[in-house]
């Protein structure tokens, strides 16, 4: 079984993320890391591998971590390899800069196609920077595969997959047959930390670097020029000015709180 897990290198959410003057995300000024939400995708891929490798028959499973992004994105791949992915693919091309979700999905789809027989494409529930939660669905559309997305629990037997999906108004069980696109939420199970052994092993794992021409994606279809959406303006939200904070002493806190709520007409 061949699993491709899509991991995105993103600016650290706990750092001060900013926009550049051209309204693109500043990816240099802020330390980057593999999107924390993609750790869950890597974890599920590895669990699947471990389960299948030890089951009867001992199926051979290869986990390939795939990322699309500038030079620095290779760092994100490294994390996936340290966690236990077998190999990495990094699609990097100047033409990709400024791509929107559609273009990113096209590049990812091109890379998955080039990888050949893929049974599972595993994604995170959202990237921690763009946070659109649309790339997995777009990938399914582009690759003409069933989408089994937003899974908080993943179960499988041979080629049959089932997930629990926590939707807005219902909790559903979604089922489909591989090949398929799977995305998992942060409820799917704690992601492992790379072990010392894993960190050492990752250094020897193969990483391929592909450009657009390697994956048959036309440069005219991606990048800022080809984006189907345009940012008109970005504005830093004025920091909230800190309001009054009182210390509670013998019930004074509750009284002050109610006074505040009343003054704002909430009561």
């Amino acid at each position: 079984m061949n699993i491709v897990v899509c991991v995105k290198h993103v600016p650290d959410a706990t750092a001060d993320r900013q926009f550049e003057s051209d309204n693109t995300v500043d990816r240099e000024g802020v330390p980057g890391l593999m999107s924390e939400l993609d750790e869950y995708a890597v974890e599920q891929s590895l669990q699947l591998k471990e389960k299948r490798a030890t089951g009867d028959g001992g199926e051979e499973v290869t986990v390939t971590a795939l990322t699309v992004g500038p030079e620095g994105a290779a760092e994100g791949l490294k994390k996936a390899l340290q966690m236990g992915a077998d190999k990495g693919v990094h699609v990097v091309d100047d033409a990709i800069a400024g791509s929107d979700a559609v273009a990113t999905a096209k590049v990812l789809a091109g890379a998955v196609r080039k990888l050949g027989e893929v049974d599972l494409v595993v994604c995170g529930m959202a990237s921690t920077d763009g946070a659109m939660s649309v790339v997995p669905a777009m990938l399914a559309e582009l690759l003409d595969l069933p989408q089994v997305t937003f899974g908080s629990v993943v179960e499988s037997q041979d080629k049959e997959f089932r997930i629990k999906r926590d939707g807005e108004s219902a909790t559903e069980v979604i089922g489909a047959t591989a090949p398929l696109v799977l995305s998992v939420t942060d409820q799917s199970g704690e992601a492992r930390y790379p072990s010392f052994k894993g960190i050492m092993a990752a250094k020897k794992k193969p990483v391929e670097t592909w450009s657009l021409s390697d994956i048959d994606v036309d440069a005219g279809e991606v990048g800022a020029e080809a984006a189907w959406t345009a940012v008109i303006s970005t504005e830093a939200r004025p920091p909230r000015s800190k309001g009054e904070v009182v210390a509670d002493e013998d019930g004074s806190g509750a009284k002050a709180l109610v006074e505040f709520l009343a003054s704002k007409k909430f009561i």
Partner: protein, 320 residues
């Protein structure tokens, strides 16, 4: 004037409030056409409901052949309607399903997509959207530059305006591919109604964190005295004290109420991402150094287990 397609969000014919918000926005951009994909028996109720909020036309699509499948068939329905009606825009709710439907539609019809819009206004060359990004630290205005703008709009993006529309019913029979029927909904359990307002729609949200120690009575008591919805931090969900549907934040719900009261919540960036755009923020926390206090309009340094019940009692007394 061009049509603006609005995907109706409903459960058994009961139309949900975000749909009215979408219709109100649609009216700014053109002529609202509601798209109801659901059971034939629920159609009448849904048509009546959307008519009240300005739907000039209602496309009624019988979902008996497609309701057992995830997302993909609905994207096909919308793609075929776009083909037929050449609308000025397509509006869907920015929910888990809504965004995915929009994503697939964007690829199908070669059109740009904007998600999580908190406002949509007409512009010189198409709708201009407002989004809040990076955990609410930035406000971004954007537009679609190719094809038919597809916009996933968040709850509370507009105040629903009642205005009678013609509500002309047009039955639409889509052609659904086999490929769209590959992800099956094997089972579905509707979320139990809590009797409290829906989190994403509520004007007031009272939420609790690890500091509750798992006892949500003080949170729920205060919420009920204010007619508020109840939320939680991820620490609460991870501890199994509340189901994931209560979670507010990056990987939970994003709320933007008039008033947000956080108790026993430290205010991690991932939690802020879900509440930072609330109009008024109040926090109760034992630790005066808690980062949540950086955001507040009003804060109490104290134990939530004493402060909240006392406040609740006082509020109930004032209400008489």
């Amino acid at each position: 004037m061009s049509e603006v397609l609005v995907l109706v969000d409903e459960v058994d014919g009961a139309v949900r409030k975000p749909t009215y918000e979408l219709l109100t926005i649609a009216k700014r951009l053109g002529e609202p056409s509601a798209v109801f994909i659901g059971g034939a028996e629920a159609a009448d109720a849904a048509v009546e409901a959307v008519k009240k909020y300005g739907a000039e036309k209602v496309y009624v699509v019988d979902d008996s052949e497609i309701k057992g499948y995830l997302v993909a068939p609905k994207a096909e329905v919308l793609a075929q309607l776009v083909e037929q009606a050449s609308p000025a825009a397509v509006l869907v709710p920015s929910s888990v399903d809504g965004r995915e439907i929009a994503g697939r539609l964007a690829i199908k019809i070669g059109s740009g997509l904007i998600t999580d819009a908190t406002d949509v206004q007409p512009g010189d060359d198409g709708p201009v959207t407002t989004q809040s990004v990076f955990a609410g630290n930035y406000t971004v205005q954007a537009k679609v530059t190719k094809g038919t703008p597809i916009i996933a709009v968040k709850p509370n993006a507009a105040a629903p305006e009642e205005t009678a529309g013609a509500g002309a019913v047009e039955k639409f029979t889509p052609t659904i591919s086999d490929a769209a029927r590959k992800a099956k909904i094997v089972a579905s359990q509707p979320r139990q109604a809590s009797g409290r307002p829906e989190l994403t729609e509520a004007a007031i949200v009272v939420s609790g964190g690890r500091g509750t120690g798992g006892n949500f009575d003080p949170i729920e008591g205060l919420a009920d005295s204010l007619g508020a919805a109840v939320g939680a931090s991820r620490a609460v969900v991870d501890s199994g004290w509340k189901p994931h549907s209560f979670q507010i934040g990056q990987t939970g719900k994003v709320v933007s109420p008039q008033l947000y009261i956080a108790s026993g919540i430290s205010g991690a960036i991932q939690h802020r991402a879900g509440m930072q755009t609330s109009k008024t923020i109040v926090a109760v926390n034992k630790d005066e150094e808690a980062p949540i206090f950086e955001l507040v309009d009003f804060g109490v340094v104290g134990d939530l287990h004493t402060v909240l019940p006392a406040a609740t009692e006082e509020i109930n007394k004032r209400k008489g």
